[in-house]
């Protein structure tokens, strides 16, 4: 097994969890209601917890004595391999919910496959994550329905969210960073196999929410190659501020 490709592969999964966790964390204390505030923060903490498991494993694999914190806080922008979807900003609650649902649906399908990985650690992390993410998807899906099939205004806003985030969904299935060798060995998940189910599930829920499924056929890619949107630098400077300003600080 090629250590380097496994290390890269773990980051293509975990960076999504870290960055989405950070995005949701921005809402802590700023949610639209006490209840949704706590719900968002809970999801954030679940994701950060999963990130830790993945990064701890990645640090082990790399074998250079780094910690999960080094991986989380001390990389440059282009070294983060998360997809563009999860770094999109919290413009309003509809975006938070839409982004979450589009991610959760993918991530749950993904973890369901990853639990069968021939790599025992990845399989174990996936199994633990499935329960958490099942709830995330239930929560975000319910909210998409509420807002889509809610008032006239919430319907319009939710449709705008779906249209706005749609260009980013196909990158979820982009195989950048996933070596063929890892798939052949049964370690990595073949993402192309998830695409059809994903669009079927998402379309069904959008219809239930009385929202239109965008017909757009061209998509934006880049995050998985380390080419991020203009929002990413700001997110990263928030995320890394303490470690960059006070190196090696702990509390």
């Amino acid at each position: 097994m090629n250590k380097e490709s496994l290390y890269d592969y773990i980051l293509t999964i975990a960076d999504n969890c870290l960055i989405l966790g950070q995005r949701l964390g921005e809402l802590c204390g700023h949610g639209p209601s006490l209840e949704t505030d706590i719900a968002g923060t809970n999801i954030s903490l679940d994701l950060i917890g999963q990130t830790r498991s993945f990064y701890q494993y990645a640090a082990d694999i790399e074998g250079k004595g780094k910690t999960e914190d080094d991986i989380a806080f001390l990389r440059l922008e282009k070294d983060y391999k998360n997809c563009l979807l999860v770094e999109q900003p919290n413009d309003h609650f509809g975006y938070v919910i839409g982004r979450q649902y589009l991610w959760d649906t993918f991530y749950l399908l993904f973890l369901n496959e990853l639990q069968n990985s021939s790599d025992e650690t990845l399989s174990a992390i996936a199994k633990k994550g499935i329960k958490e993410v099942s709830y995330h998807r239930r929560f975000s899906g319910d909210w998409v329905k509420r807002l889509g099939d809610g008032s006239e205004e919430s319907h319009l806003k939710m449709q705008e969210v779906v249209n706005g985030l749609w260009p980013y969904v196909d990158e979820l299935f982009d195989m950048t960073g996933v070596s063929k060798e890892l798939i052949k060995q049964g370690i990595a998940v073949d993402l192309s196999k998830l695409r059809e189910t994903y669009f079927k599930q998402v379309s069904a829920l959008l219809e239930e929410a009385t929202l239109e499924v965008p017909e757009r056929k061209y998509f934006v890619y880049g995050g998985k190659k380390g080419v991020h949107s203009e929002y990413f630098g700001y997110l990263l400077s928030d995320l890394q501020y303490m470690q960059r300003t006070y190196p090696n600080m702990t509390w």
Partner: protein
């Protein structure tokens, strides 16, 4: 337009064999949302294995003004507690 969602009362069973106990209240648009909110607000530290929610307006409560007639008459009726039996020493957990 009403500004707030309706208020719900949350009851949580902390483990099998115990009863649901009142944990607090929260706001939610309907029962389904109330359950999800209750899960997030009240059970994120492993407090429960089952949740009931009921809209606060559906609860009929006694009026504190009537506390005198409702509850004070019981105060001098200690004999209603089974505390006057003499128990044998072998009984440890009564």
């Amino acid at each position: 337009m009403k500004k707030n969602w309706p208020l719900w009362e949350v009851f949580v069973r902390s483990k099998n064999g115990l009863e649901h106990r009142h944990f607090g209240s929260l706001r939610a648009a309907d029962a389904e949302m109330a359950l999800e909110n209750a899960r997030d607000v009240y059970t994120r530290r492993m407090e429960g294995i089952s949740i009931w929610v009921v809209e606060s307006k559906d609860i009929t409560a006694s009026n504190p003004e009537n506390n005198g007639e409702l509850f004070e008459p019981a105060q001098d009726k200690v004999y209603r507690h089974p505390t006057f039996y003499e128990l044998p020493d072998e009984l440890k957990h009564m």
